[in-house]
């Protein structure tokens, strides 16, 4: 039995979501760096403006994997839906308006990223996410569905910040 319906297969390539960040702040960058280096001090490039100005970056930049869309975005505006809908395993198909497979659990399967220019304080990032594909296989926890999305981020000058392919495993 397949988990991948005709409607799901037909949706490959469609846009899932589009978002525009608020301008990135030095505080956002600093807190991100503290969290991912905890409990040690993060590199000065991420929080010390005087030091960062002496580097090839000529100022603070964000860690490559920094997420400027956390908590709230400029577009869509307002506080995003809380908890349940964002961890809904059927989120992808609901965004597409098609019948979801109805699996119970969802895990982060893998990430593949090409980086472009660095994110800096003041940057406004636009994200366009689309459905890249589905596949399935039998796993330790039963029949597993792998869905891959592509997400391209650009800054306010239209420069590519990153091209991201992410795979979500559902079972």
């Amino acid at each position: 039995m397949t988990l991948i319906s005709e409607a799901m297969q037909a949706a490959v390539g469609r846009e899932l979501s589009r978002a525009v960040s608020y301008p990135i702040s030095v505080s956002d960058i600093r807190k991100w760096a503290i969290a991912v280096y905890y409990p040690e001090e993060p590199p000065r490039l991420f929080w010390d403006e005087a030091y960062a100005a002496t580097t090839v970056h000529r100022g603070i930049v964000a860690p490559e994997e920094f997420n400027p869309f956390a908590w709230m975005t400029a577009e869509p505006s307002g506080v995003p839906p809380s908890g349940a809908s964002r961890v809904d395993p059927d989120r992808t198909e609901r965004l597409l308006g098609i019948e979801p497979p109805g699996l119970k659990f969802m895990l982060n399967g893998g990430i593949d990223v090409e980086y472009g220019v660095r994110m800096r304080p003041g940057d406004v990032i636009t994200s366009v996410q689309s459905l890249a594909g589905y596949r399935e296989r039998e796993g330790r926890l039963g029949q597993m569905l792998f869905s891959t999305s592509e997400n391209v981020w650009t800054n306010q000058r239209g420069e590519v910040v990153r091209r991201y392919q992410g795979t979500v495993i559902r079972y």
């Binding site: 956002d28 807190k31 991100w32 503290i34 969290a35 991912v36 280096y37 905890y38 409990p39 590199p43 490039l45 580097t55 090839v56 970056h57 860690p63 490559e64 994997e65 997420n67 956390a70 908590w71 908890g83 961890v87 659990f105 895990l107 982060n108 399967g109 893998g110 990430i111 593949d112 990223v113 090409e114 980086y115 926890l141 795979t167």
Partner: protein, 135 residues
Amino acid sequence: MADIAVGDEIPPFVREPGFHHWNRYAAVNDEFVPIHMDNEAGRAAGYPSAFGQGNLQWSYLHNVLRQWLGDDGTIEHLSCSFRGANVKGQTVTARGRVTAVTGRDGRRVVELDVWTENDAGQPLAPGTARVSLPA
């Protein structure tokens, strides 16, 4: 940086992640998912406890590259898959090993296998990286 050769291992990045780490990460990434916050939810998903965010393993892979490269280096490409969960009480070590060294536009381009592993040396998040740094 001195010579870089195929087979070189870069200095590891080591953490003992638990709720102090996962909660901080949840706070910056707005990633408050029950499997990362609640042992019961972790067990319901088939694991012995709550477990850390895959995205935090992803950050640790960046950290091990950044601490080796310094501020002049560039992470051009990084990938990983999530094979194992970082459950409570584990030490997580991020590592990298050089697989190719080439050049482009006056910079050294280095490809590596990268991974995080648990105490037993089992990979949690294996992947590959391509970085560049001044010649």
